[in-house]
């Protein structure tokens, strides 16, 4: 369970997010909608603990009952997916996945990574370099990597916007199935209503043009 309690984010000039409270249960998705500049990305940055200088935030975030508001990024275990897959270009697909997995005996870790690849329809792709994969394949590997790191919550920063229409539907289904399977709360930021899965709760942020 991810709980946002009266979250407020502001620059020195204007308020981006005003008193947002929400509860996202395991396997559920909270969709945050809004135009660019409405503070969607700032909200995600606040949730994963990397709010840039110049932005001030109030309110609390609890994850699984624990207050993580002041916890450093590294200790939050909140995974994030961006528009770009951000696979590390100097590592093979398998190594990218191993990077995400927690430490342990190598054989077991490799087996888990390969099982994940097989489940995603990418069996045998472990030895490939990211740049040899198609955009859709890379996006899936990137989701696998985030999931294998065993996050307690997942943030999605418009992860579908770079994919072309044909791939987008399949990839959406893939991501949301993963979230249900892992049974973690997720926050999705998007400007496209089609990205929002059925049953998700929706929050709209409006860009306030009152002062600049």
């Amino acid at each position: 369970m991810l709980e946002l309690d009266a979250v407020r984010i502001a620059t020195s000039e204007r308020v981006l997010v005003r008193d947002l409270s929400a509860r996202v249960g395991a396997g559920e998705v909270l969709a945050v909608m809004g135009d660019s500049g409405s503070g969607k990305s700032s909200l995600l940055a606040f949730l994963c603990g990397s709010l840039p200088d110049g932005l001030r935030a109030q309110g609390r975030v609890r994850l699984g009952g624990r207050d993580i508001t002041a916890l450093p990024v590294v200790e939050r275990r909140v995974g994030i997916l961006f528009q770009d897959d951000l696979l590390f270009p100097h590592m093979s697909v398998l190594d990218n996945l191993l990077f995400g997995l927690p430490a342990g005996p190598r054989a077991g870790r490799v087996a888990r990574a390969e099982a994940a690849l097989a489940q995603a329809g990418l069996a045998g792709y472990g030895g490939r370099w990211p740049h040899t994969l198609s955009g859709g394949q890379r996006a899936r590997v990137s989701v696998l990597r985030a999931m294998l790191a065993q996050p307690r919550a997942l943030l999605l920063d418009e992860p579908f916007s770079r994919l072309d229409a044909a791939l987008r539907d399949r990839f959406r289904a893939f991501v949301f199935a993963g979230i249900r399977q892992q049974s973690i709360p997720a926050v999705l930021v998007t400007h496209d209503p089609q990205d929002v899965p059925p049953g998700a709760s929706i929050v709209r942020l409006s860009a306030e043009h009152d002062s600049a």
């Binding site: 275990r77 909140v78 951000l86 190594d95 191993l98 990077f99």
Partner: protein
Amino acid sequence: MRSSANGSNATASEPRVTAVTGRGGFADVAKAAWLAPSLLYVLPLGAALALGLQGAFHTGAWRALIGDTQFLPALRLSLQVGVASALLALMAMLVLVPALQGSAWWPRVQRGLGAVLALPHAAFAVGLALLLMPSGLLARLLALATGWDAPPDVATVQDPAGLALIAGLVLKEVPFLLWNVAAQLQRVGQGGEIERQLQVAASMGYAARTTWARVLWPQLLPRLALPLLAVWAYSLTVVDMALVLGPTRPPTLAVLAWQWLLDADEAMNRQGAAAAALLAALVALGALLALAAVGVLRPLLHDRRTWGDRPRPRAGAALARAGIGAAAAVYLAVLAMLAFVSLAGVWSFPALLPQAWTGSAWAAVVRSGETLWLTAGLALGSAATGIVLAVAWMESTPEHWDRRAAPLVYAPMLVPGVLLVAGLYRLTLGLGIDGHYSGLWLAHSLYTAPYVLVALAPAYRGYDARYERTAHALGRGHAAFLWRVKWPMLQAPIVAAFAIGFAVSVTQYLSTQFVGAGRFATVTTEALTLAAGGQRTLMAAFALMQALLPALVFLAALALAHQQVRRLGAL
């Protein structure tokens, strides 16, 4: 060394190069006019290198070199200084960048780097010597605590182990490496790629330090191969800093080679040429050993990246900031020492400030009008030549070619100065312009051109090609496009590159002294000649002048750039 530099370069550019050669083929040879500007640079450089090496093809010279009693101790000292300072500089870079990047300190450091890099090596060495010497500011500050009333009786400069030289080299090389890292981060990290990789890794529980070690350095280090090689080559073969900070009995092998080359006896000259060639071989050998070490370590490091352990973040940032602060303080103290000593009449030991001031050294500098004019004239001429060559090169040479030519462009930074200068001398001798202004101009231009090229390339290659099509579509010819559109738009980077060329020329010591046959004095040769004697005030004044001349040109370039931004907005 060229093959190794080429190797690391080729991996980055391979797919494109093959694609282009596949398309072009021999048809390009007919249109080979674009080779001309690069040949103008490559031919004299190649000739100088060949002549420098040729001087070493003499078995008697090698026998004499090995038989010389100073040879082995000097070689050991050189290796000690070279390896120690190159490794320390590398380690400092590996520690400092992850600790500072992403914090508010990184932009501050980046802003400071320009000024630090603009300070010539020789001026820095002279100031550092004045700071560190037993009667220097450091000892005076210590005297406040210890109550010394006379300078301590220890060699703190020109110490037999070369520690002062190592300190000077590291202080000068770390900013160079940081500048290169910053440039690469800007290239790789366009659109915040670096930040987002750090963020993604952090969301998986990795501290920034670990992400740097496993994700970012493996991507950046291959691109830093040439700068790292330049640092190694410089540490091993530096002469001007070693003359001021290095030990004398024996000196480093590079200084020894320099002294032999200057000797009146021709056999000694050949011995010097052999020593210079040996230094070049050692630079190459070091590079090969480093490559071999990377080859051995790579599988281990590679494996380590994917263990999945998440070491806790360590509090190294405060230490890194303290280190940067201390280095900045040293640079300020160095400049202050140069200024104070150049004006000091009487300055007896424990006093922190001179007791009596005098302007006599500066009066002497101003009186030496010819020295100043020659310095400035040579710098203007060779910087202008560098600009013409670099612009012609980039206008005519296809981009894949100049990526291939990178090792060649870097050659003056990688080949030991003593070797290249010996070859340059023989080249000017052959052309009948030795000991003549034109010989000096040629020698300086061969050094300014590559620096200008390296400085200008990013802006030039980043120029939006659509402007060209627009100008042509509006019915303007190519000349009109260049003179009225492209070059005015690139005015700021061109002027900045000119300033760098100017600075490179001002700081030339070996080439000025050797190709000029000792007949021409610049502020640099004056400062270093005086460093061997006892006239500290005059030495400090010339050293400060060496720093001031380029600084003035840099400031002018900066003002021009600001003016352009004010007038046109950022281009």
